[in-house]
Symmetry: C2
Subunit: 347 residues, 2 copies
């Protein structure tokens, strides 16, 4: 499958409805051995990212999902085991399956606990997360809840002050409801740059800005190929981003019972791409807070942010793309669409 | 009071025990109108920061506390009102007093809830926080709990992509227990540099590194005076640090019922220095997690961090200073000590 988004296609792109893209992706997952539940959950997630313009986590990911399933590294039929541990604590053993079905299986219990206790935590372990993190938190904000999630990944980031990689790109995602508007949502890797963006720069033959990564000798480099061939990424924001990345390892792995980013060995599974780690979600019910409604207050913050000259809020671009896709459909270039149809067994 | 730490004193410094320094600070607070409880809590906090080498939040802060109390901006006699809202949610109205006595008043209920529910949240509002944030979270790790706290402050940081300041320096602090070692603790401002460090650079006539702040016209500057005289700070790490700072406003103010960093007006209280906002703490009981003990796992992460060449962990320097002070006492230069004794009415 060719890279769908880093070149201007000369052919006219084709527009699919969200439902049509989701059905196509669902068929790809089913054809590569997942259960119907897993296929539906992953197709919804991946089609949603593509629809929202988050291309690095849209159909771009499908070949990685397919090669991972083919390698036997992940169990596409896994049935998550949900454990009700305490009045604010839910645990899920994802059973070497994907993290999104594990979240889906525990979600109603988590929301019930958050509304009752005021806050609840979901600790997912033995799970594979190969998607954007914002789709995991945004739906809670749609229900009036505040959500925070962290997931660790695979060794590719050098801790600040160290000389070899240890941490994953370890993203943090947050979502909060807002009156008269889309929720406030962000999803940020604690690495200085996303791995996918390094790959795209390498293919284009472009140099990276300073401070993104090191070569195989641990020396700073702006050459994306040197980062990919034995080099590593740096954390964003120096020692501060590094501390946050460390926190993600502690919350997503140590606290869940999952693997640290450096603990799994997929060398016997060529084609495996999905980190086998853990994920933590914290959900808070802001109706328990004092004073005015939380959503009114977050709307006031947004108003003030615009007042000091901010044009675009985190999440704005995705919400705009989503609205556009609802009218126009989701544009895919012909080659990408043909590749997807082939993976689905339709050609 | 002269700046105690940004010059080499020619006089020999004097060493006080922690208890002696705490008693001296307690007397200063009492003499400026606080209750005995508040005096003890703030003296313990401030002497602890000085002992641990966190000079920007040690006795350096005392003149600011004193002028704030004298201005009538904060109520040094405030009695916090603790509300038990839900099985995982505690609220405190700090009653226009300091945040640390509010935390102290709610602490045992918070720990009890975290141990029972697995997670609990403390929402403090109507509070003044003028200290380091790590002293608020580290004691939870000493009890085997994981703690996260955020506090918003006062408008001095320009959101990424905006042209005027809105956010506070909005720190995030985290603490986690560790087997066979001091807890893992960090406390990071979401601004690129702390306000105190800008003041120190201005006094020394030094220039700042690029990317720390802007002048009164919103233009990038490396002149600390230009930042202090109508300019502002930038967030750390560009749009990512800015998103985290926004999250701190939402959690510490909107979720608690406290003021945003831009909402209070102290113009009628000359000498007031303490932001009147809110604070959020989340405490998790890691004994609810699956698999090995959390403290063993965090120790393994530390071992691996040292293995990739990391010399110093977040918090290490403070713990080393603390051990040193236990033996040698806390060194204060004679002028600083004389100033403190004068504020305490002892000269």
């Amino acid at each position: 499958m060719s890279a769908p988004h880093d070149h201007v296609s000369t052919a006219v792109s084709q527009n699919l409805s969200f439902e049509a893209l989701m059905a196509l992706l669902e068929q790809i997952f089913l054809r590569h051995g997942t259960s119907a539940d897993v296929a539906r959950t992953l197709a919804f997630n991946c089609a949603g990212a593509e629809r929202d313009g988050a291309h690095s986590h849209g159909v771009f990911r499908i070949p990685g999902y397919v090669s991972t399933l083919q390698s036997g590294w992940v169990n596409g039929q896994a049935v998550p085991v949900v454990e009700d541990v305490a009045s604010g604590f839910v645990r899920v053993d994802a059973a070497n399956g994907f993290a999104q079905p594990a979240l889906a299986a525990a979600r109603s219990l988590l929301v019930e606990k958050a509304r009752s206790a005021g806050i609840a935590v979901l600790a997912i372990r033995n799970s594979h997360h190969f998607a954007a993190l914002w789709p995991d938190v945004e739906p809670f904000a749609d229900e009036g809840l505040v959500a925070l999630s962290v997931v660790n990944s695979m060794t590719c980031v050098v801790p600040h002050g160290a000389d070899r990689p240890l941490f994953g790109t370890n993203p943090i995602a947050f979502a909060a409801p807002r009156a008269n508007g889309d929720p406030i949502v962000f999803d940020l890797a604690t690495s200085a740059i996303a791995h996918g963006d390094v790959q795209i720069a390498a293919r284009k033959g472009e140099r990276l800005p300073a401070g993104m990564g090191v070569d195989s000798l641990g020396q700073p480099t702006q050459d994306p190929k040197a980062i990919l061939e034995g080099g590593a990424l740096l954390p964003f924001g120096g020692h501060k981003g590094s501390a946050l990345s460390m926190m993600v390892e502690l919350l997503a792995a140590a606290l869940t019972g999952g693997n640290f980013s450096f603990e799994f060995d997929w060398s016997n599974h060529p084609g495996a791409k999905t980190p086998w780690t853990g994920q933590l979600l914290i959900v808070i019910d802001p109706s328990k807070s004092a004073g005015q409604s939380f959503a009114e207050r977050s709307q006031e913050l947004v108003r003030q942010m615009h007042g000091v000259g901010l044009k675009r809020l985190p999440g704005d671009r995705r919400h705009r793309q989503r609205a556009k896709a609802k009218v126009e459909g989701i544009a895919l270039d012909p080659q990408t669409l043909a590749d997807l149809r082939e993976l689905a067994g339709l050609l």
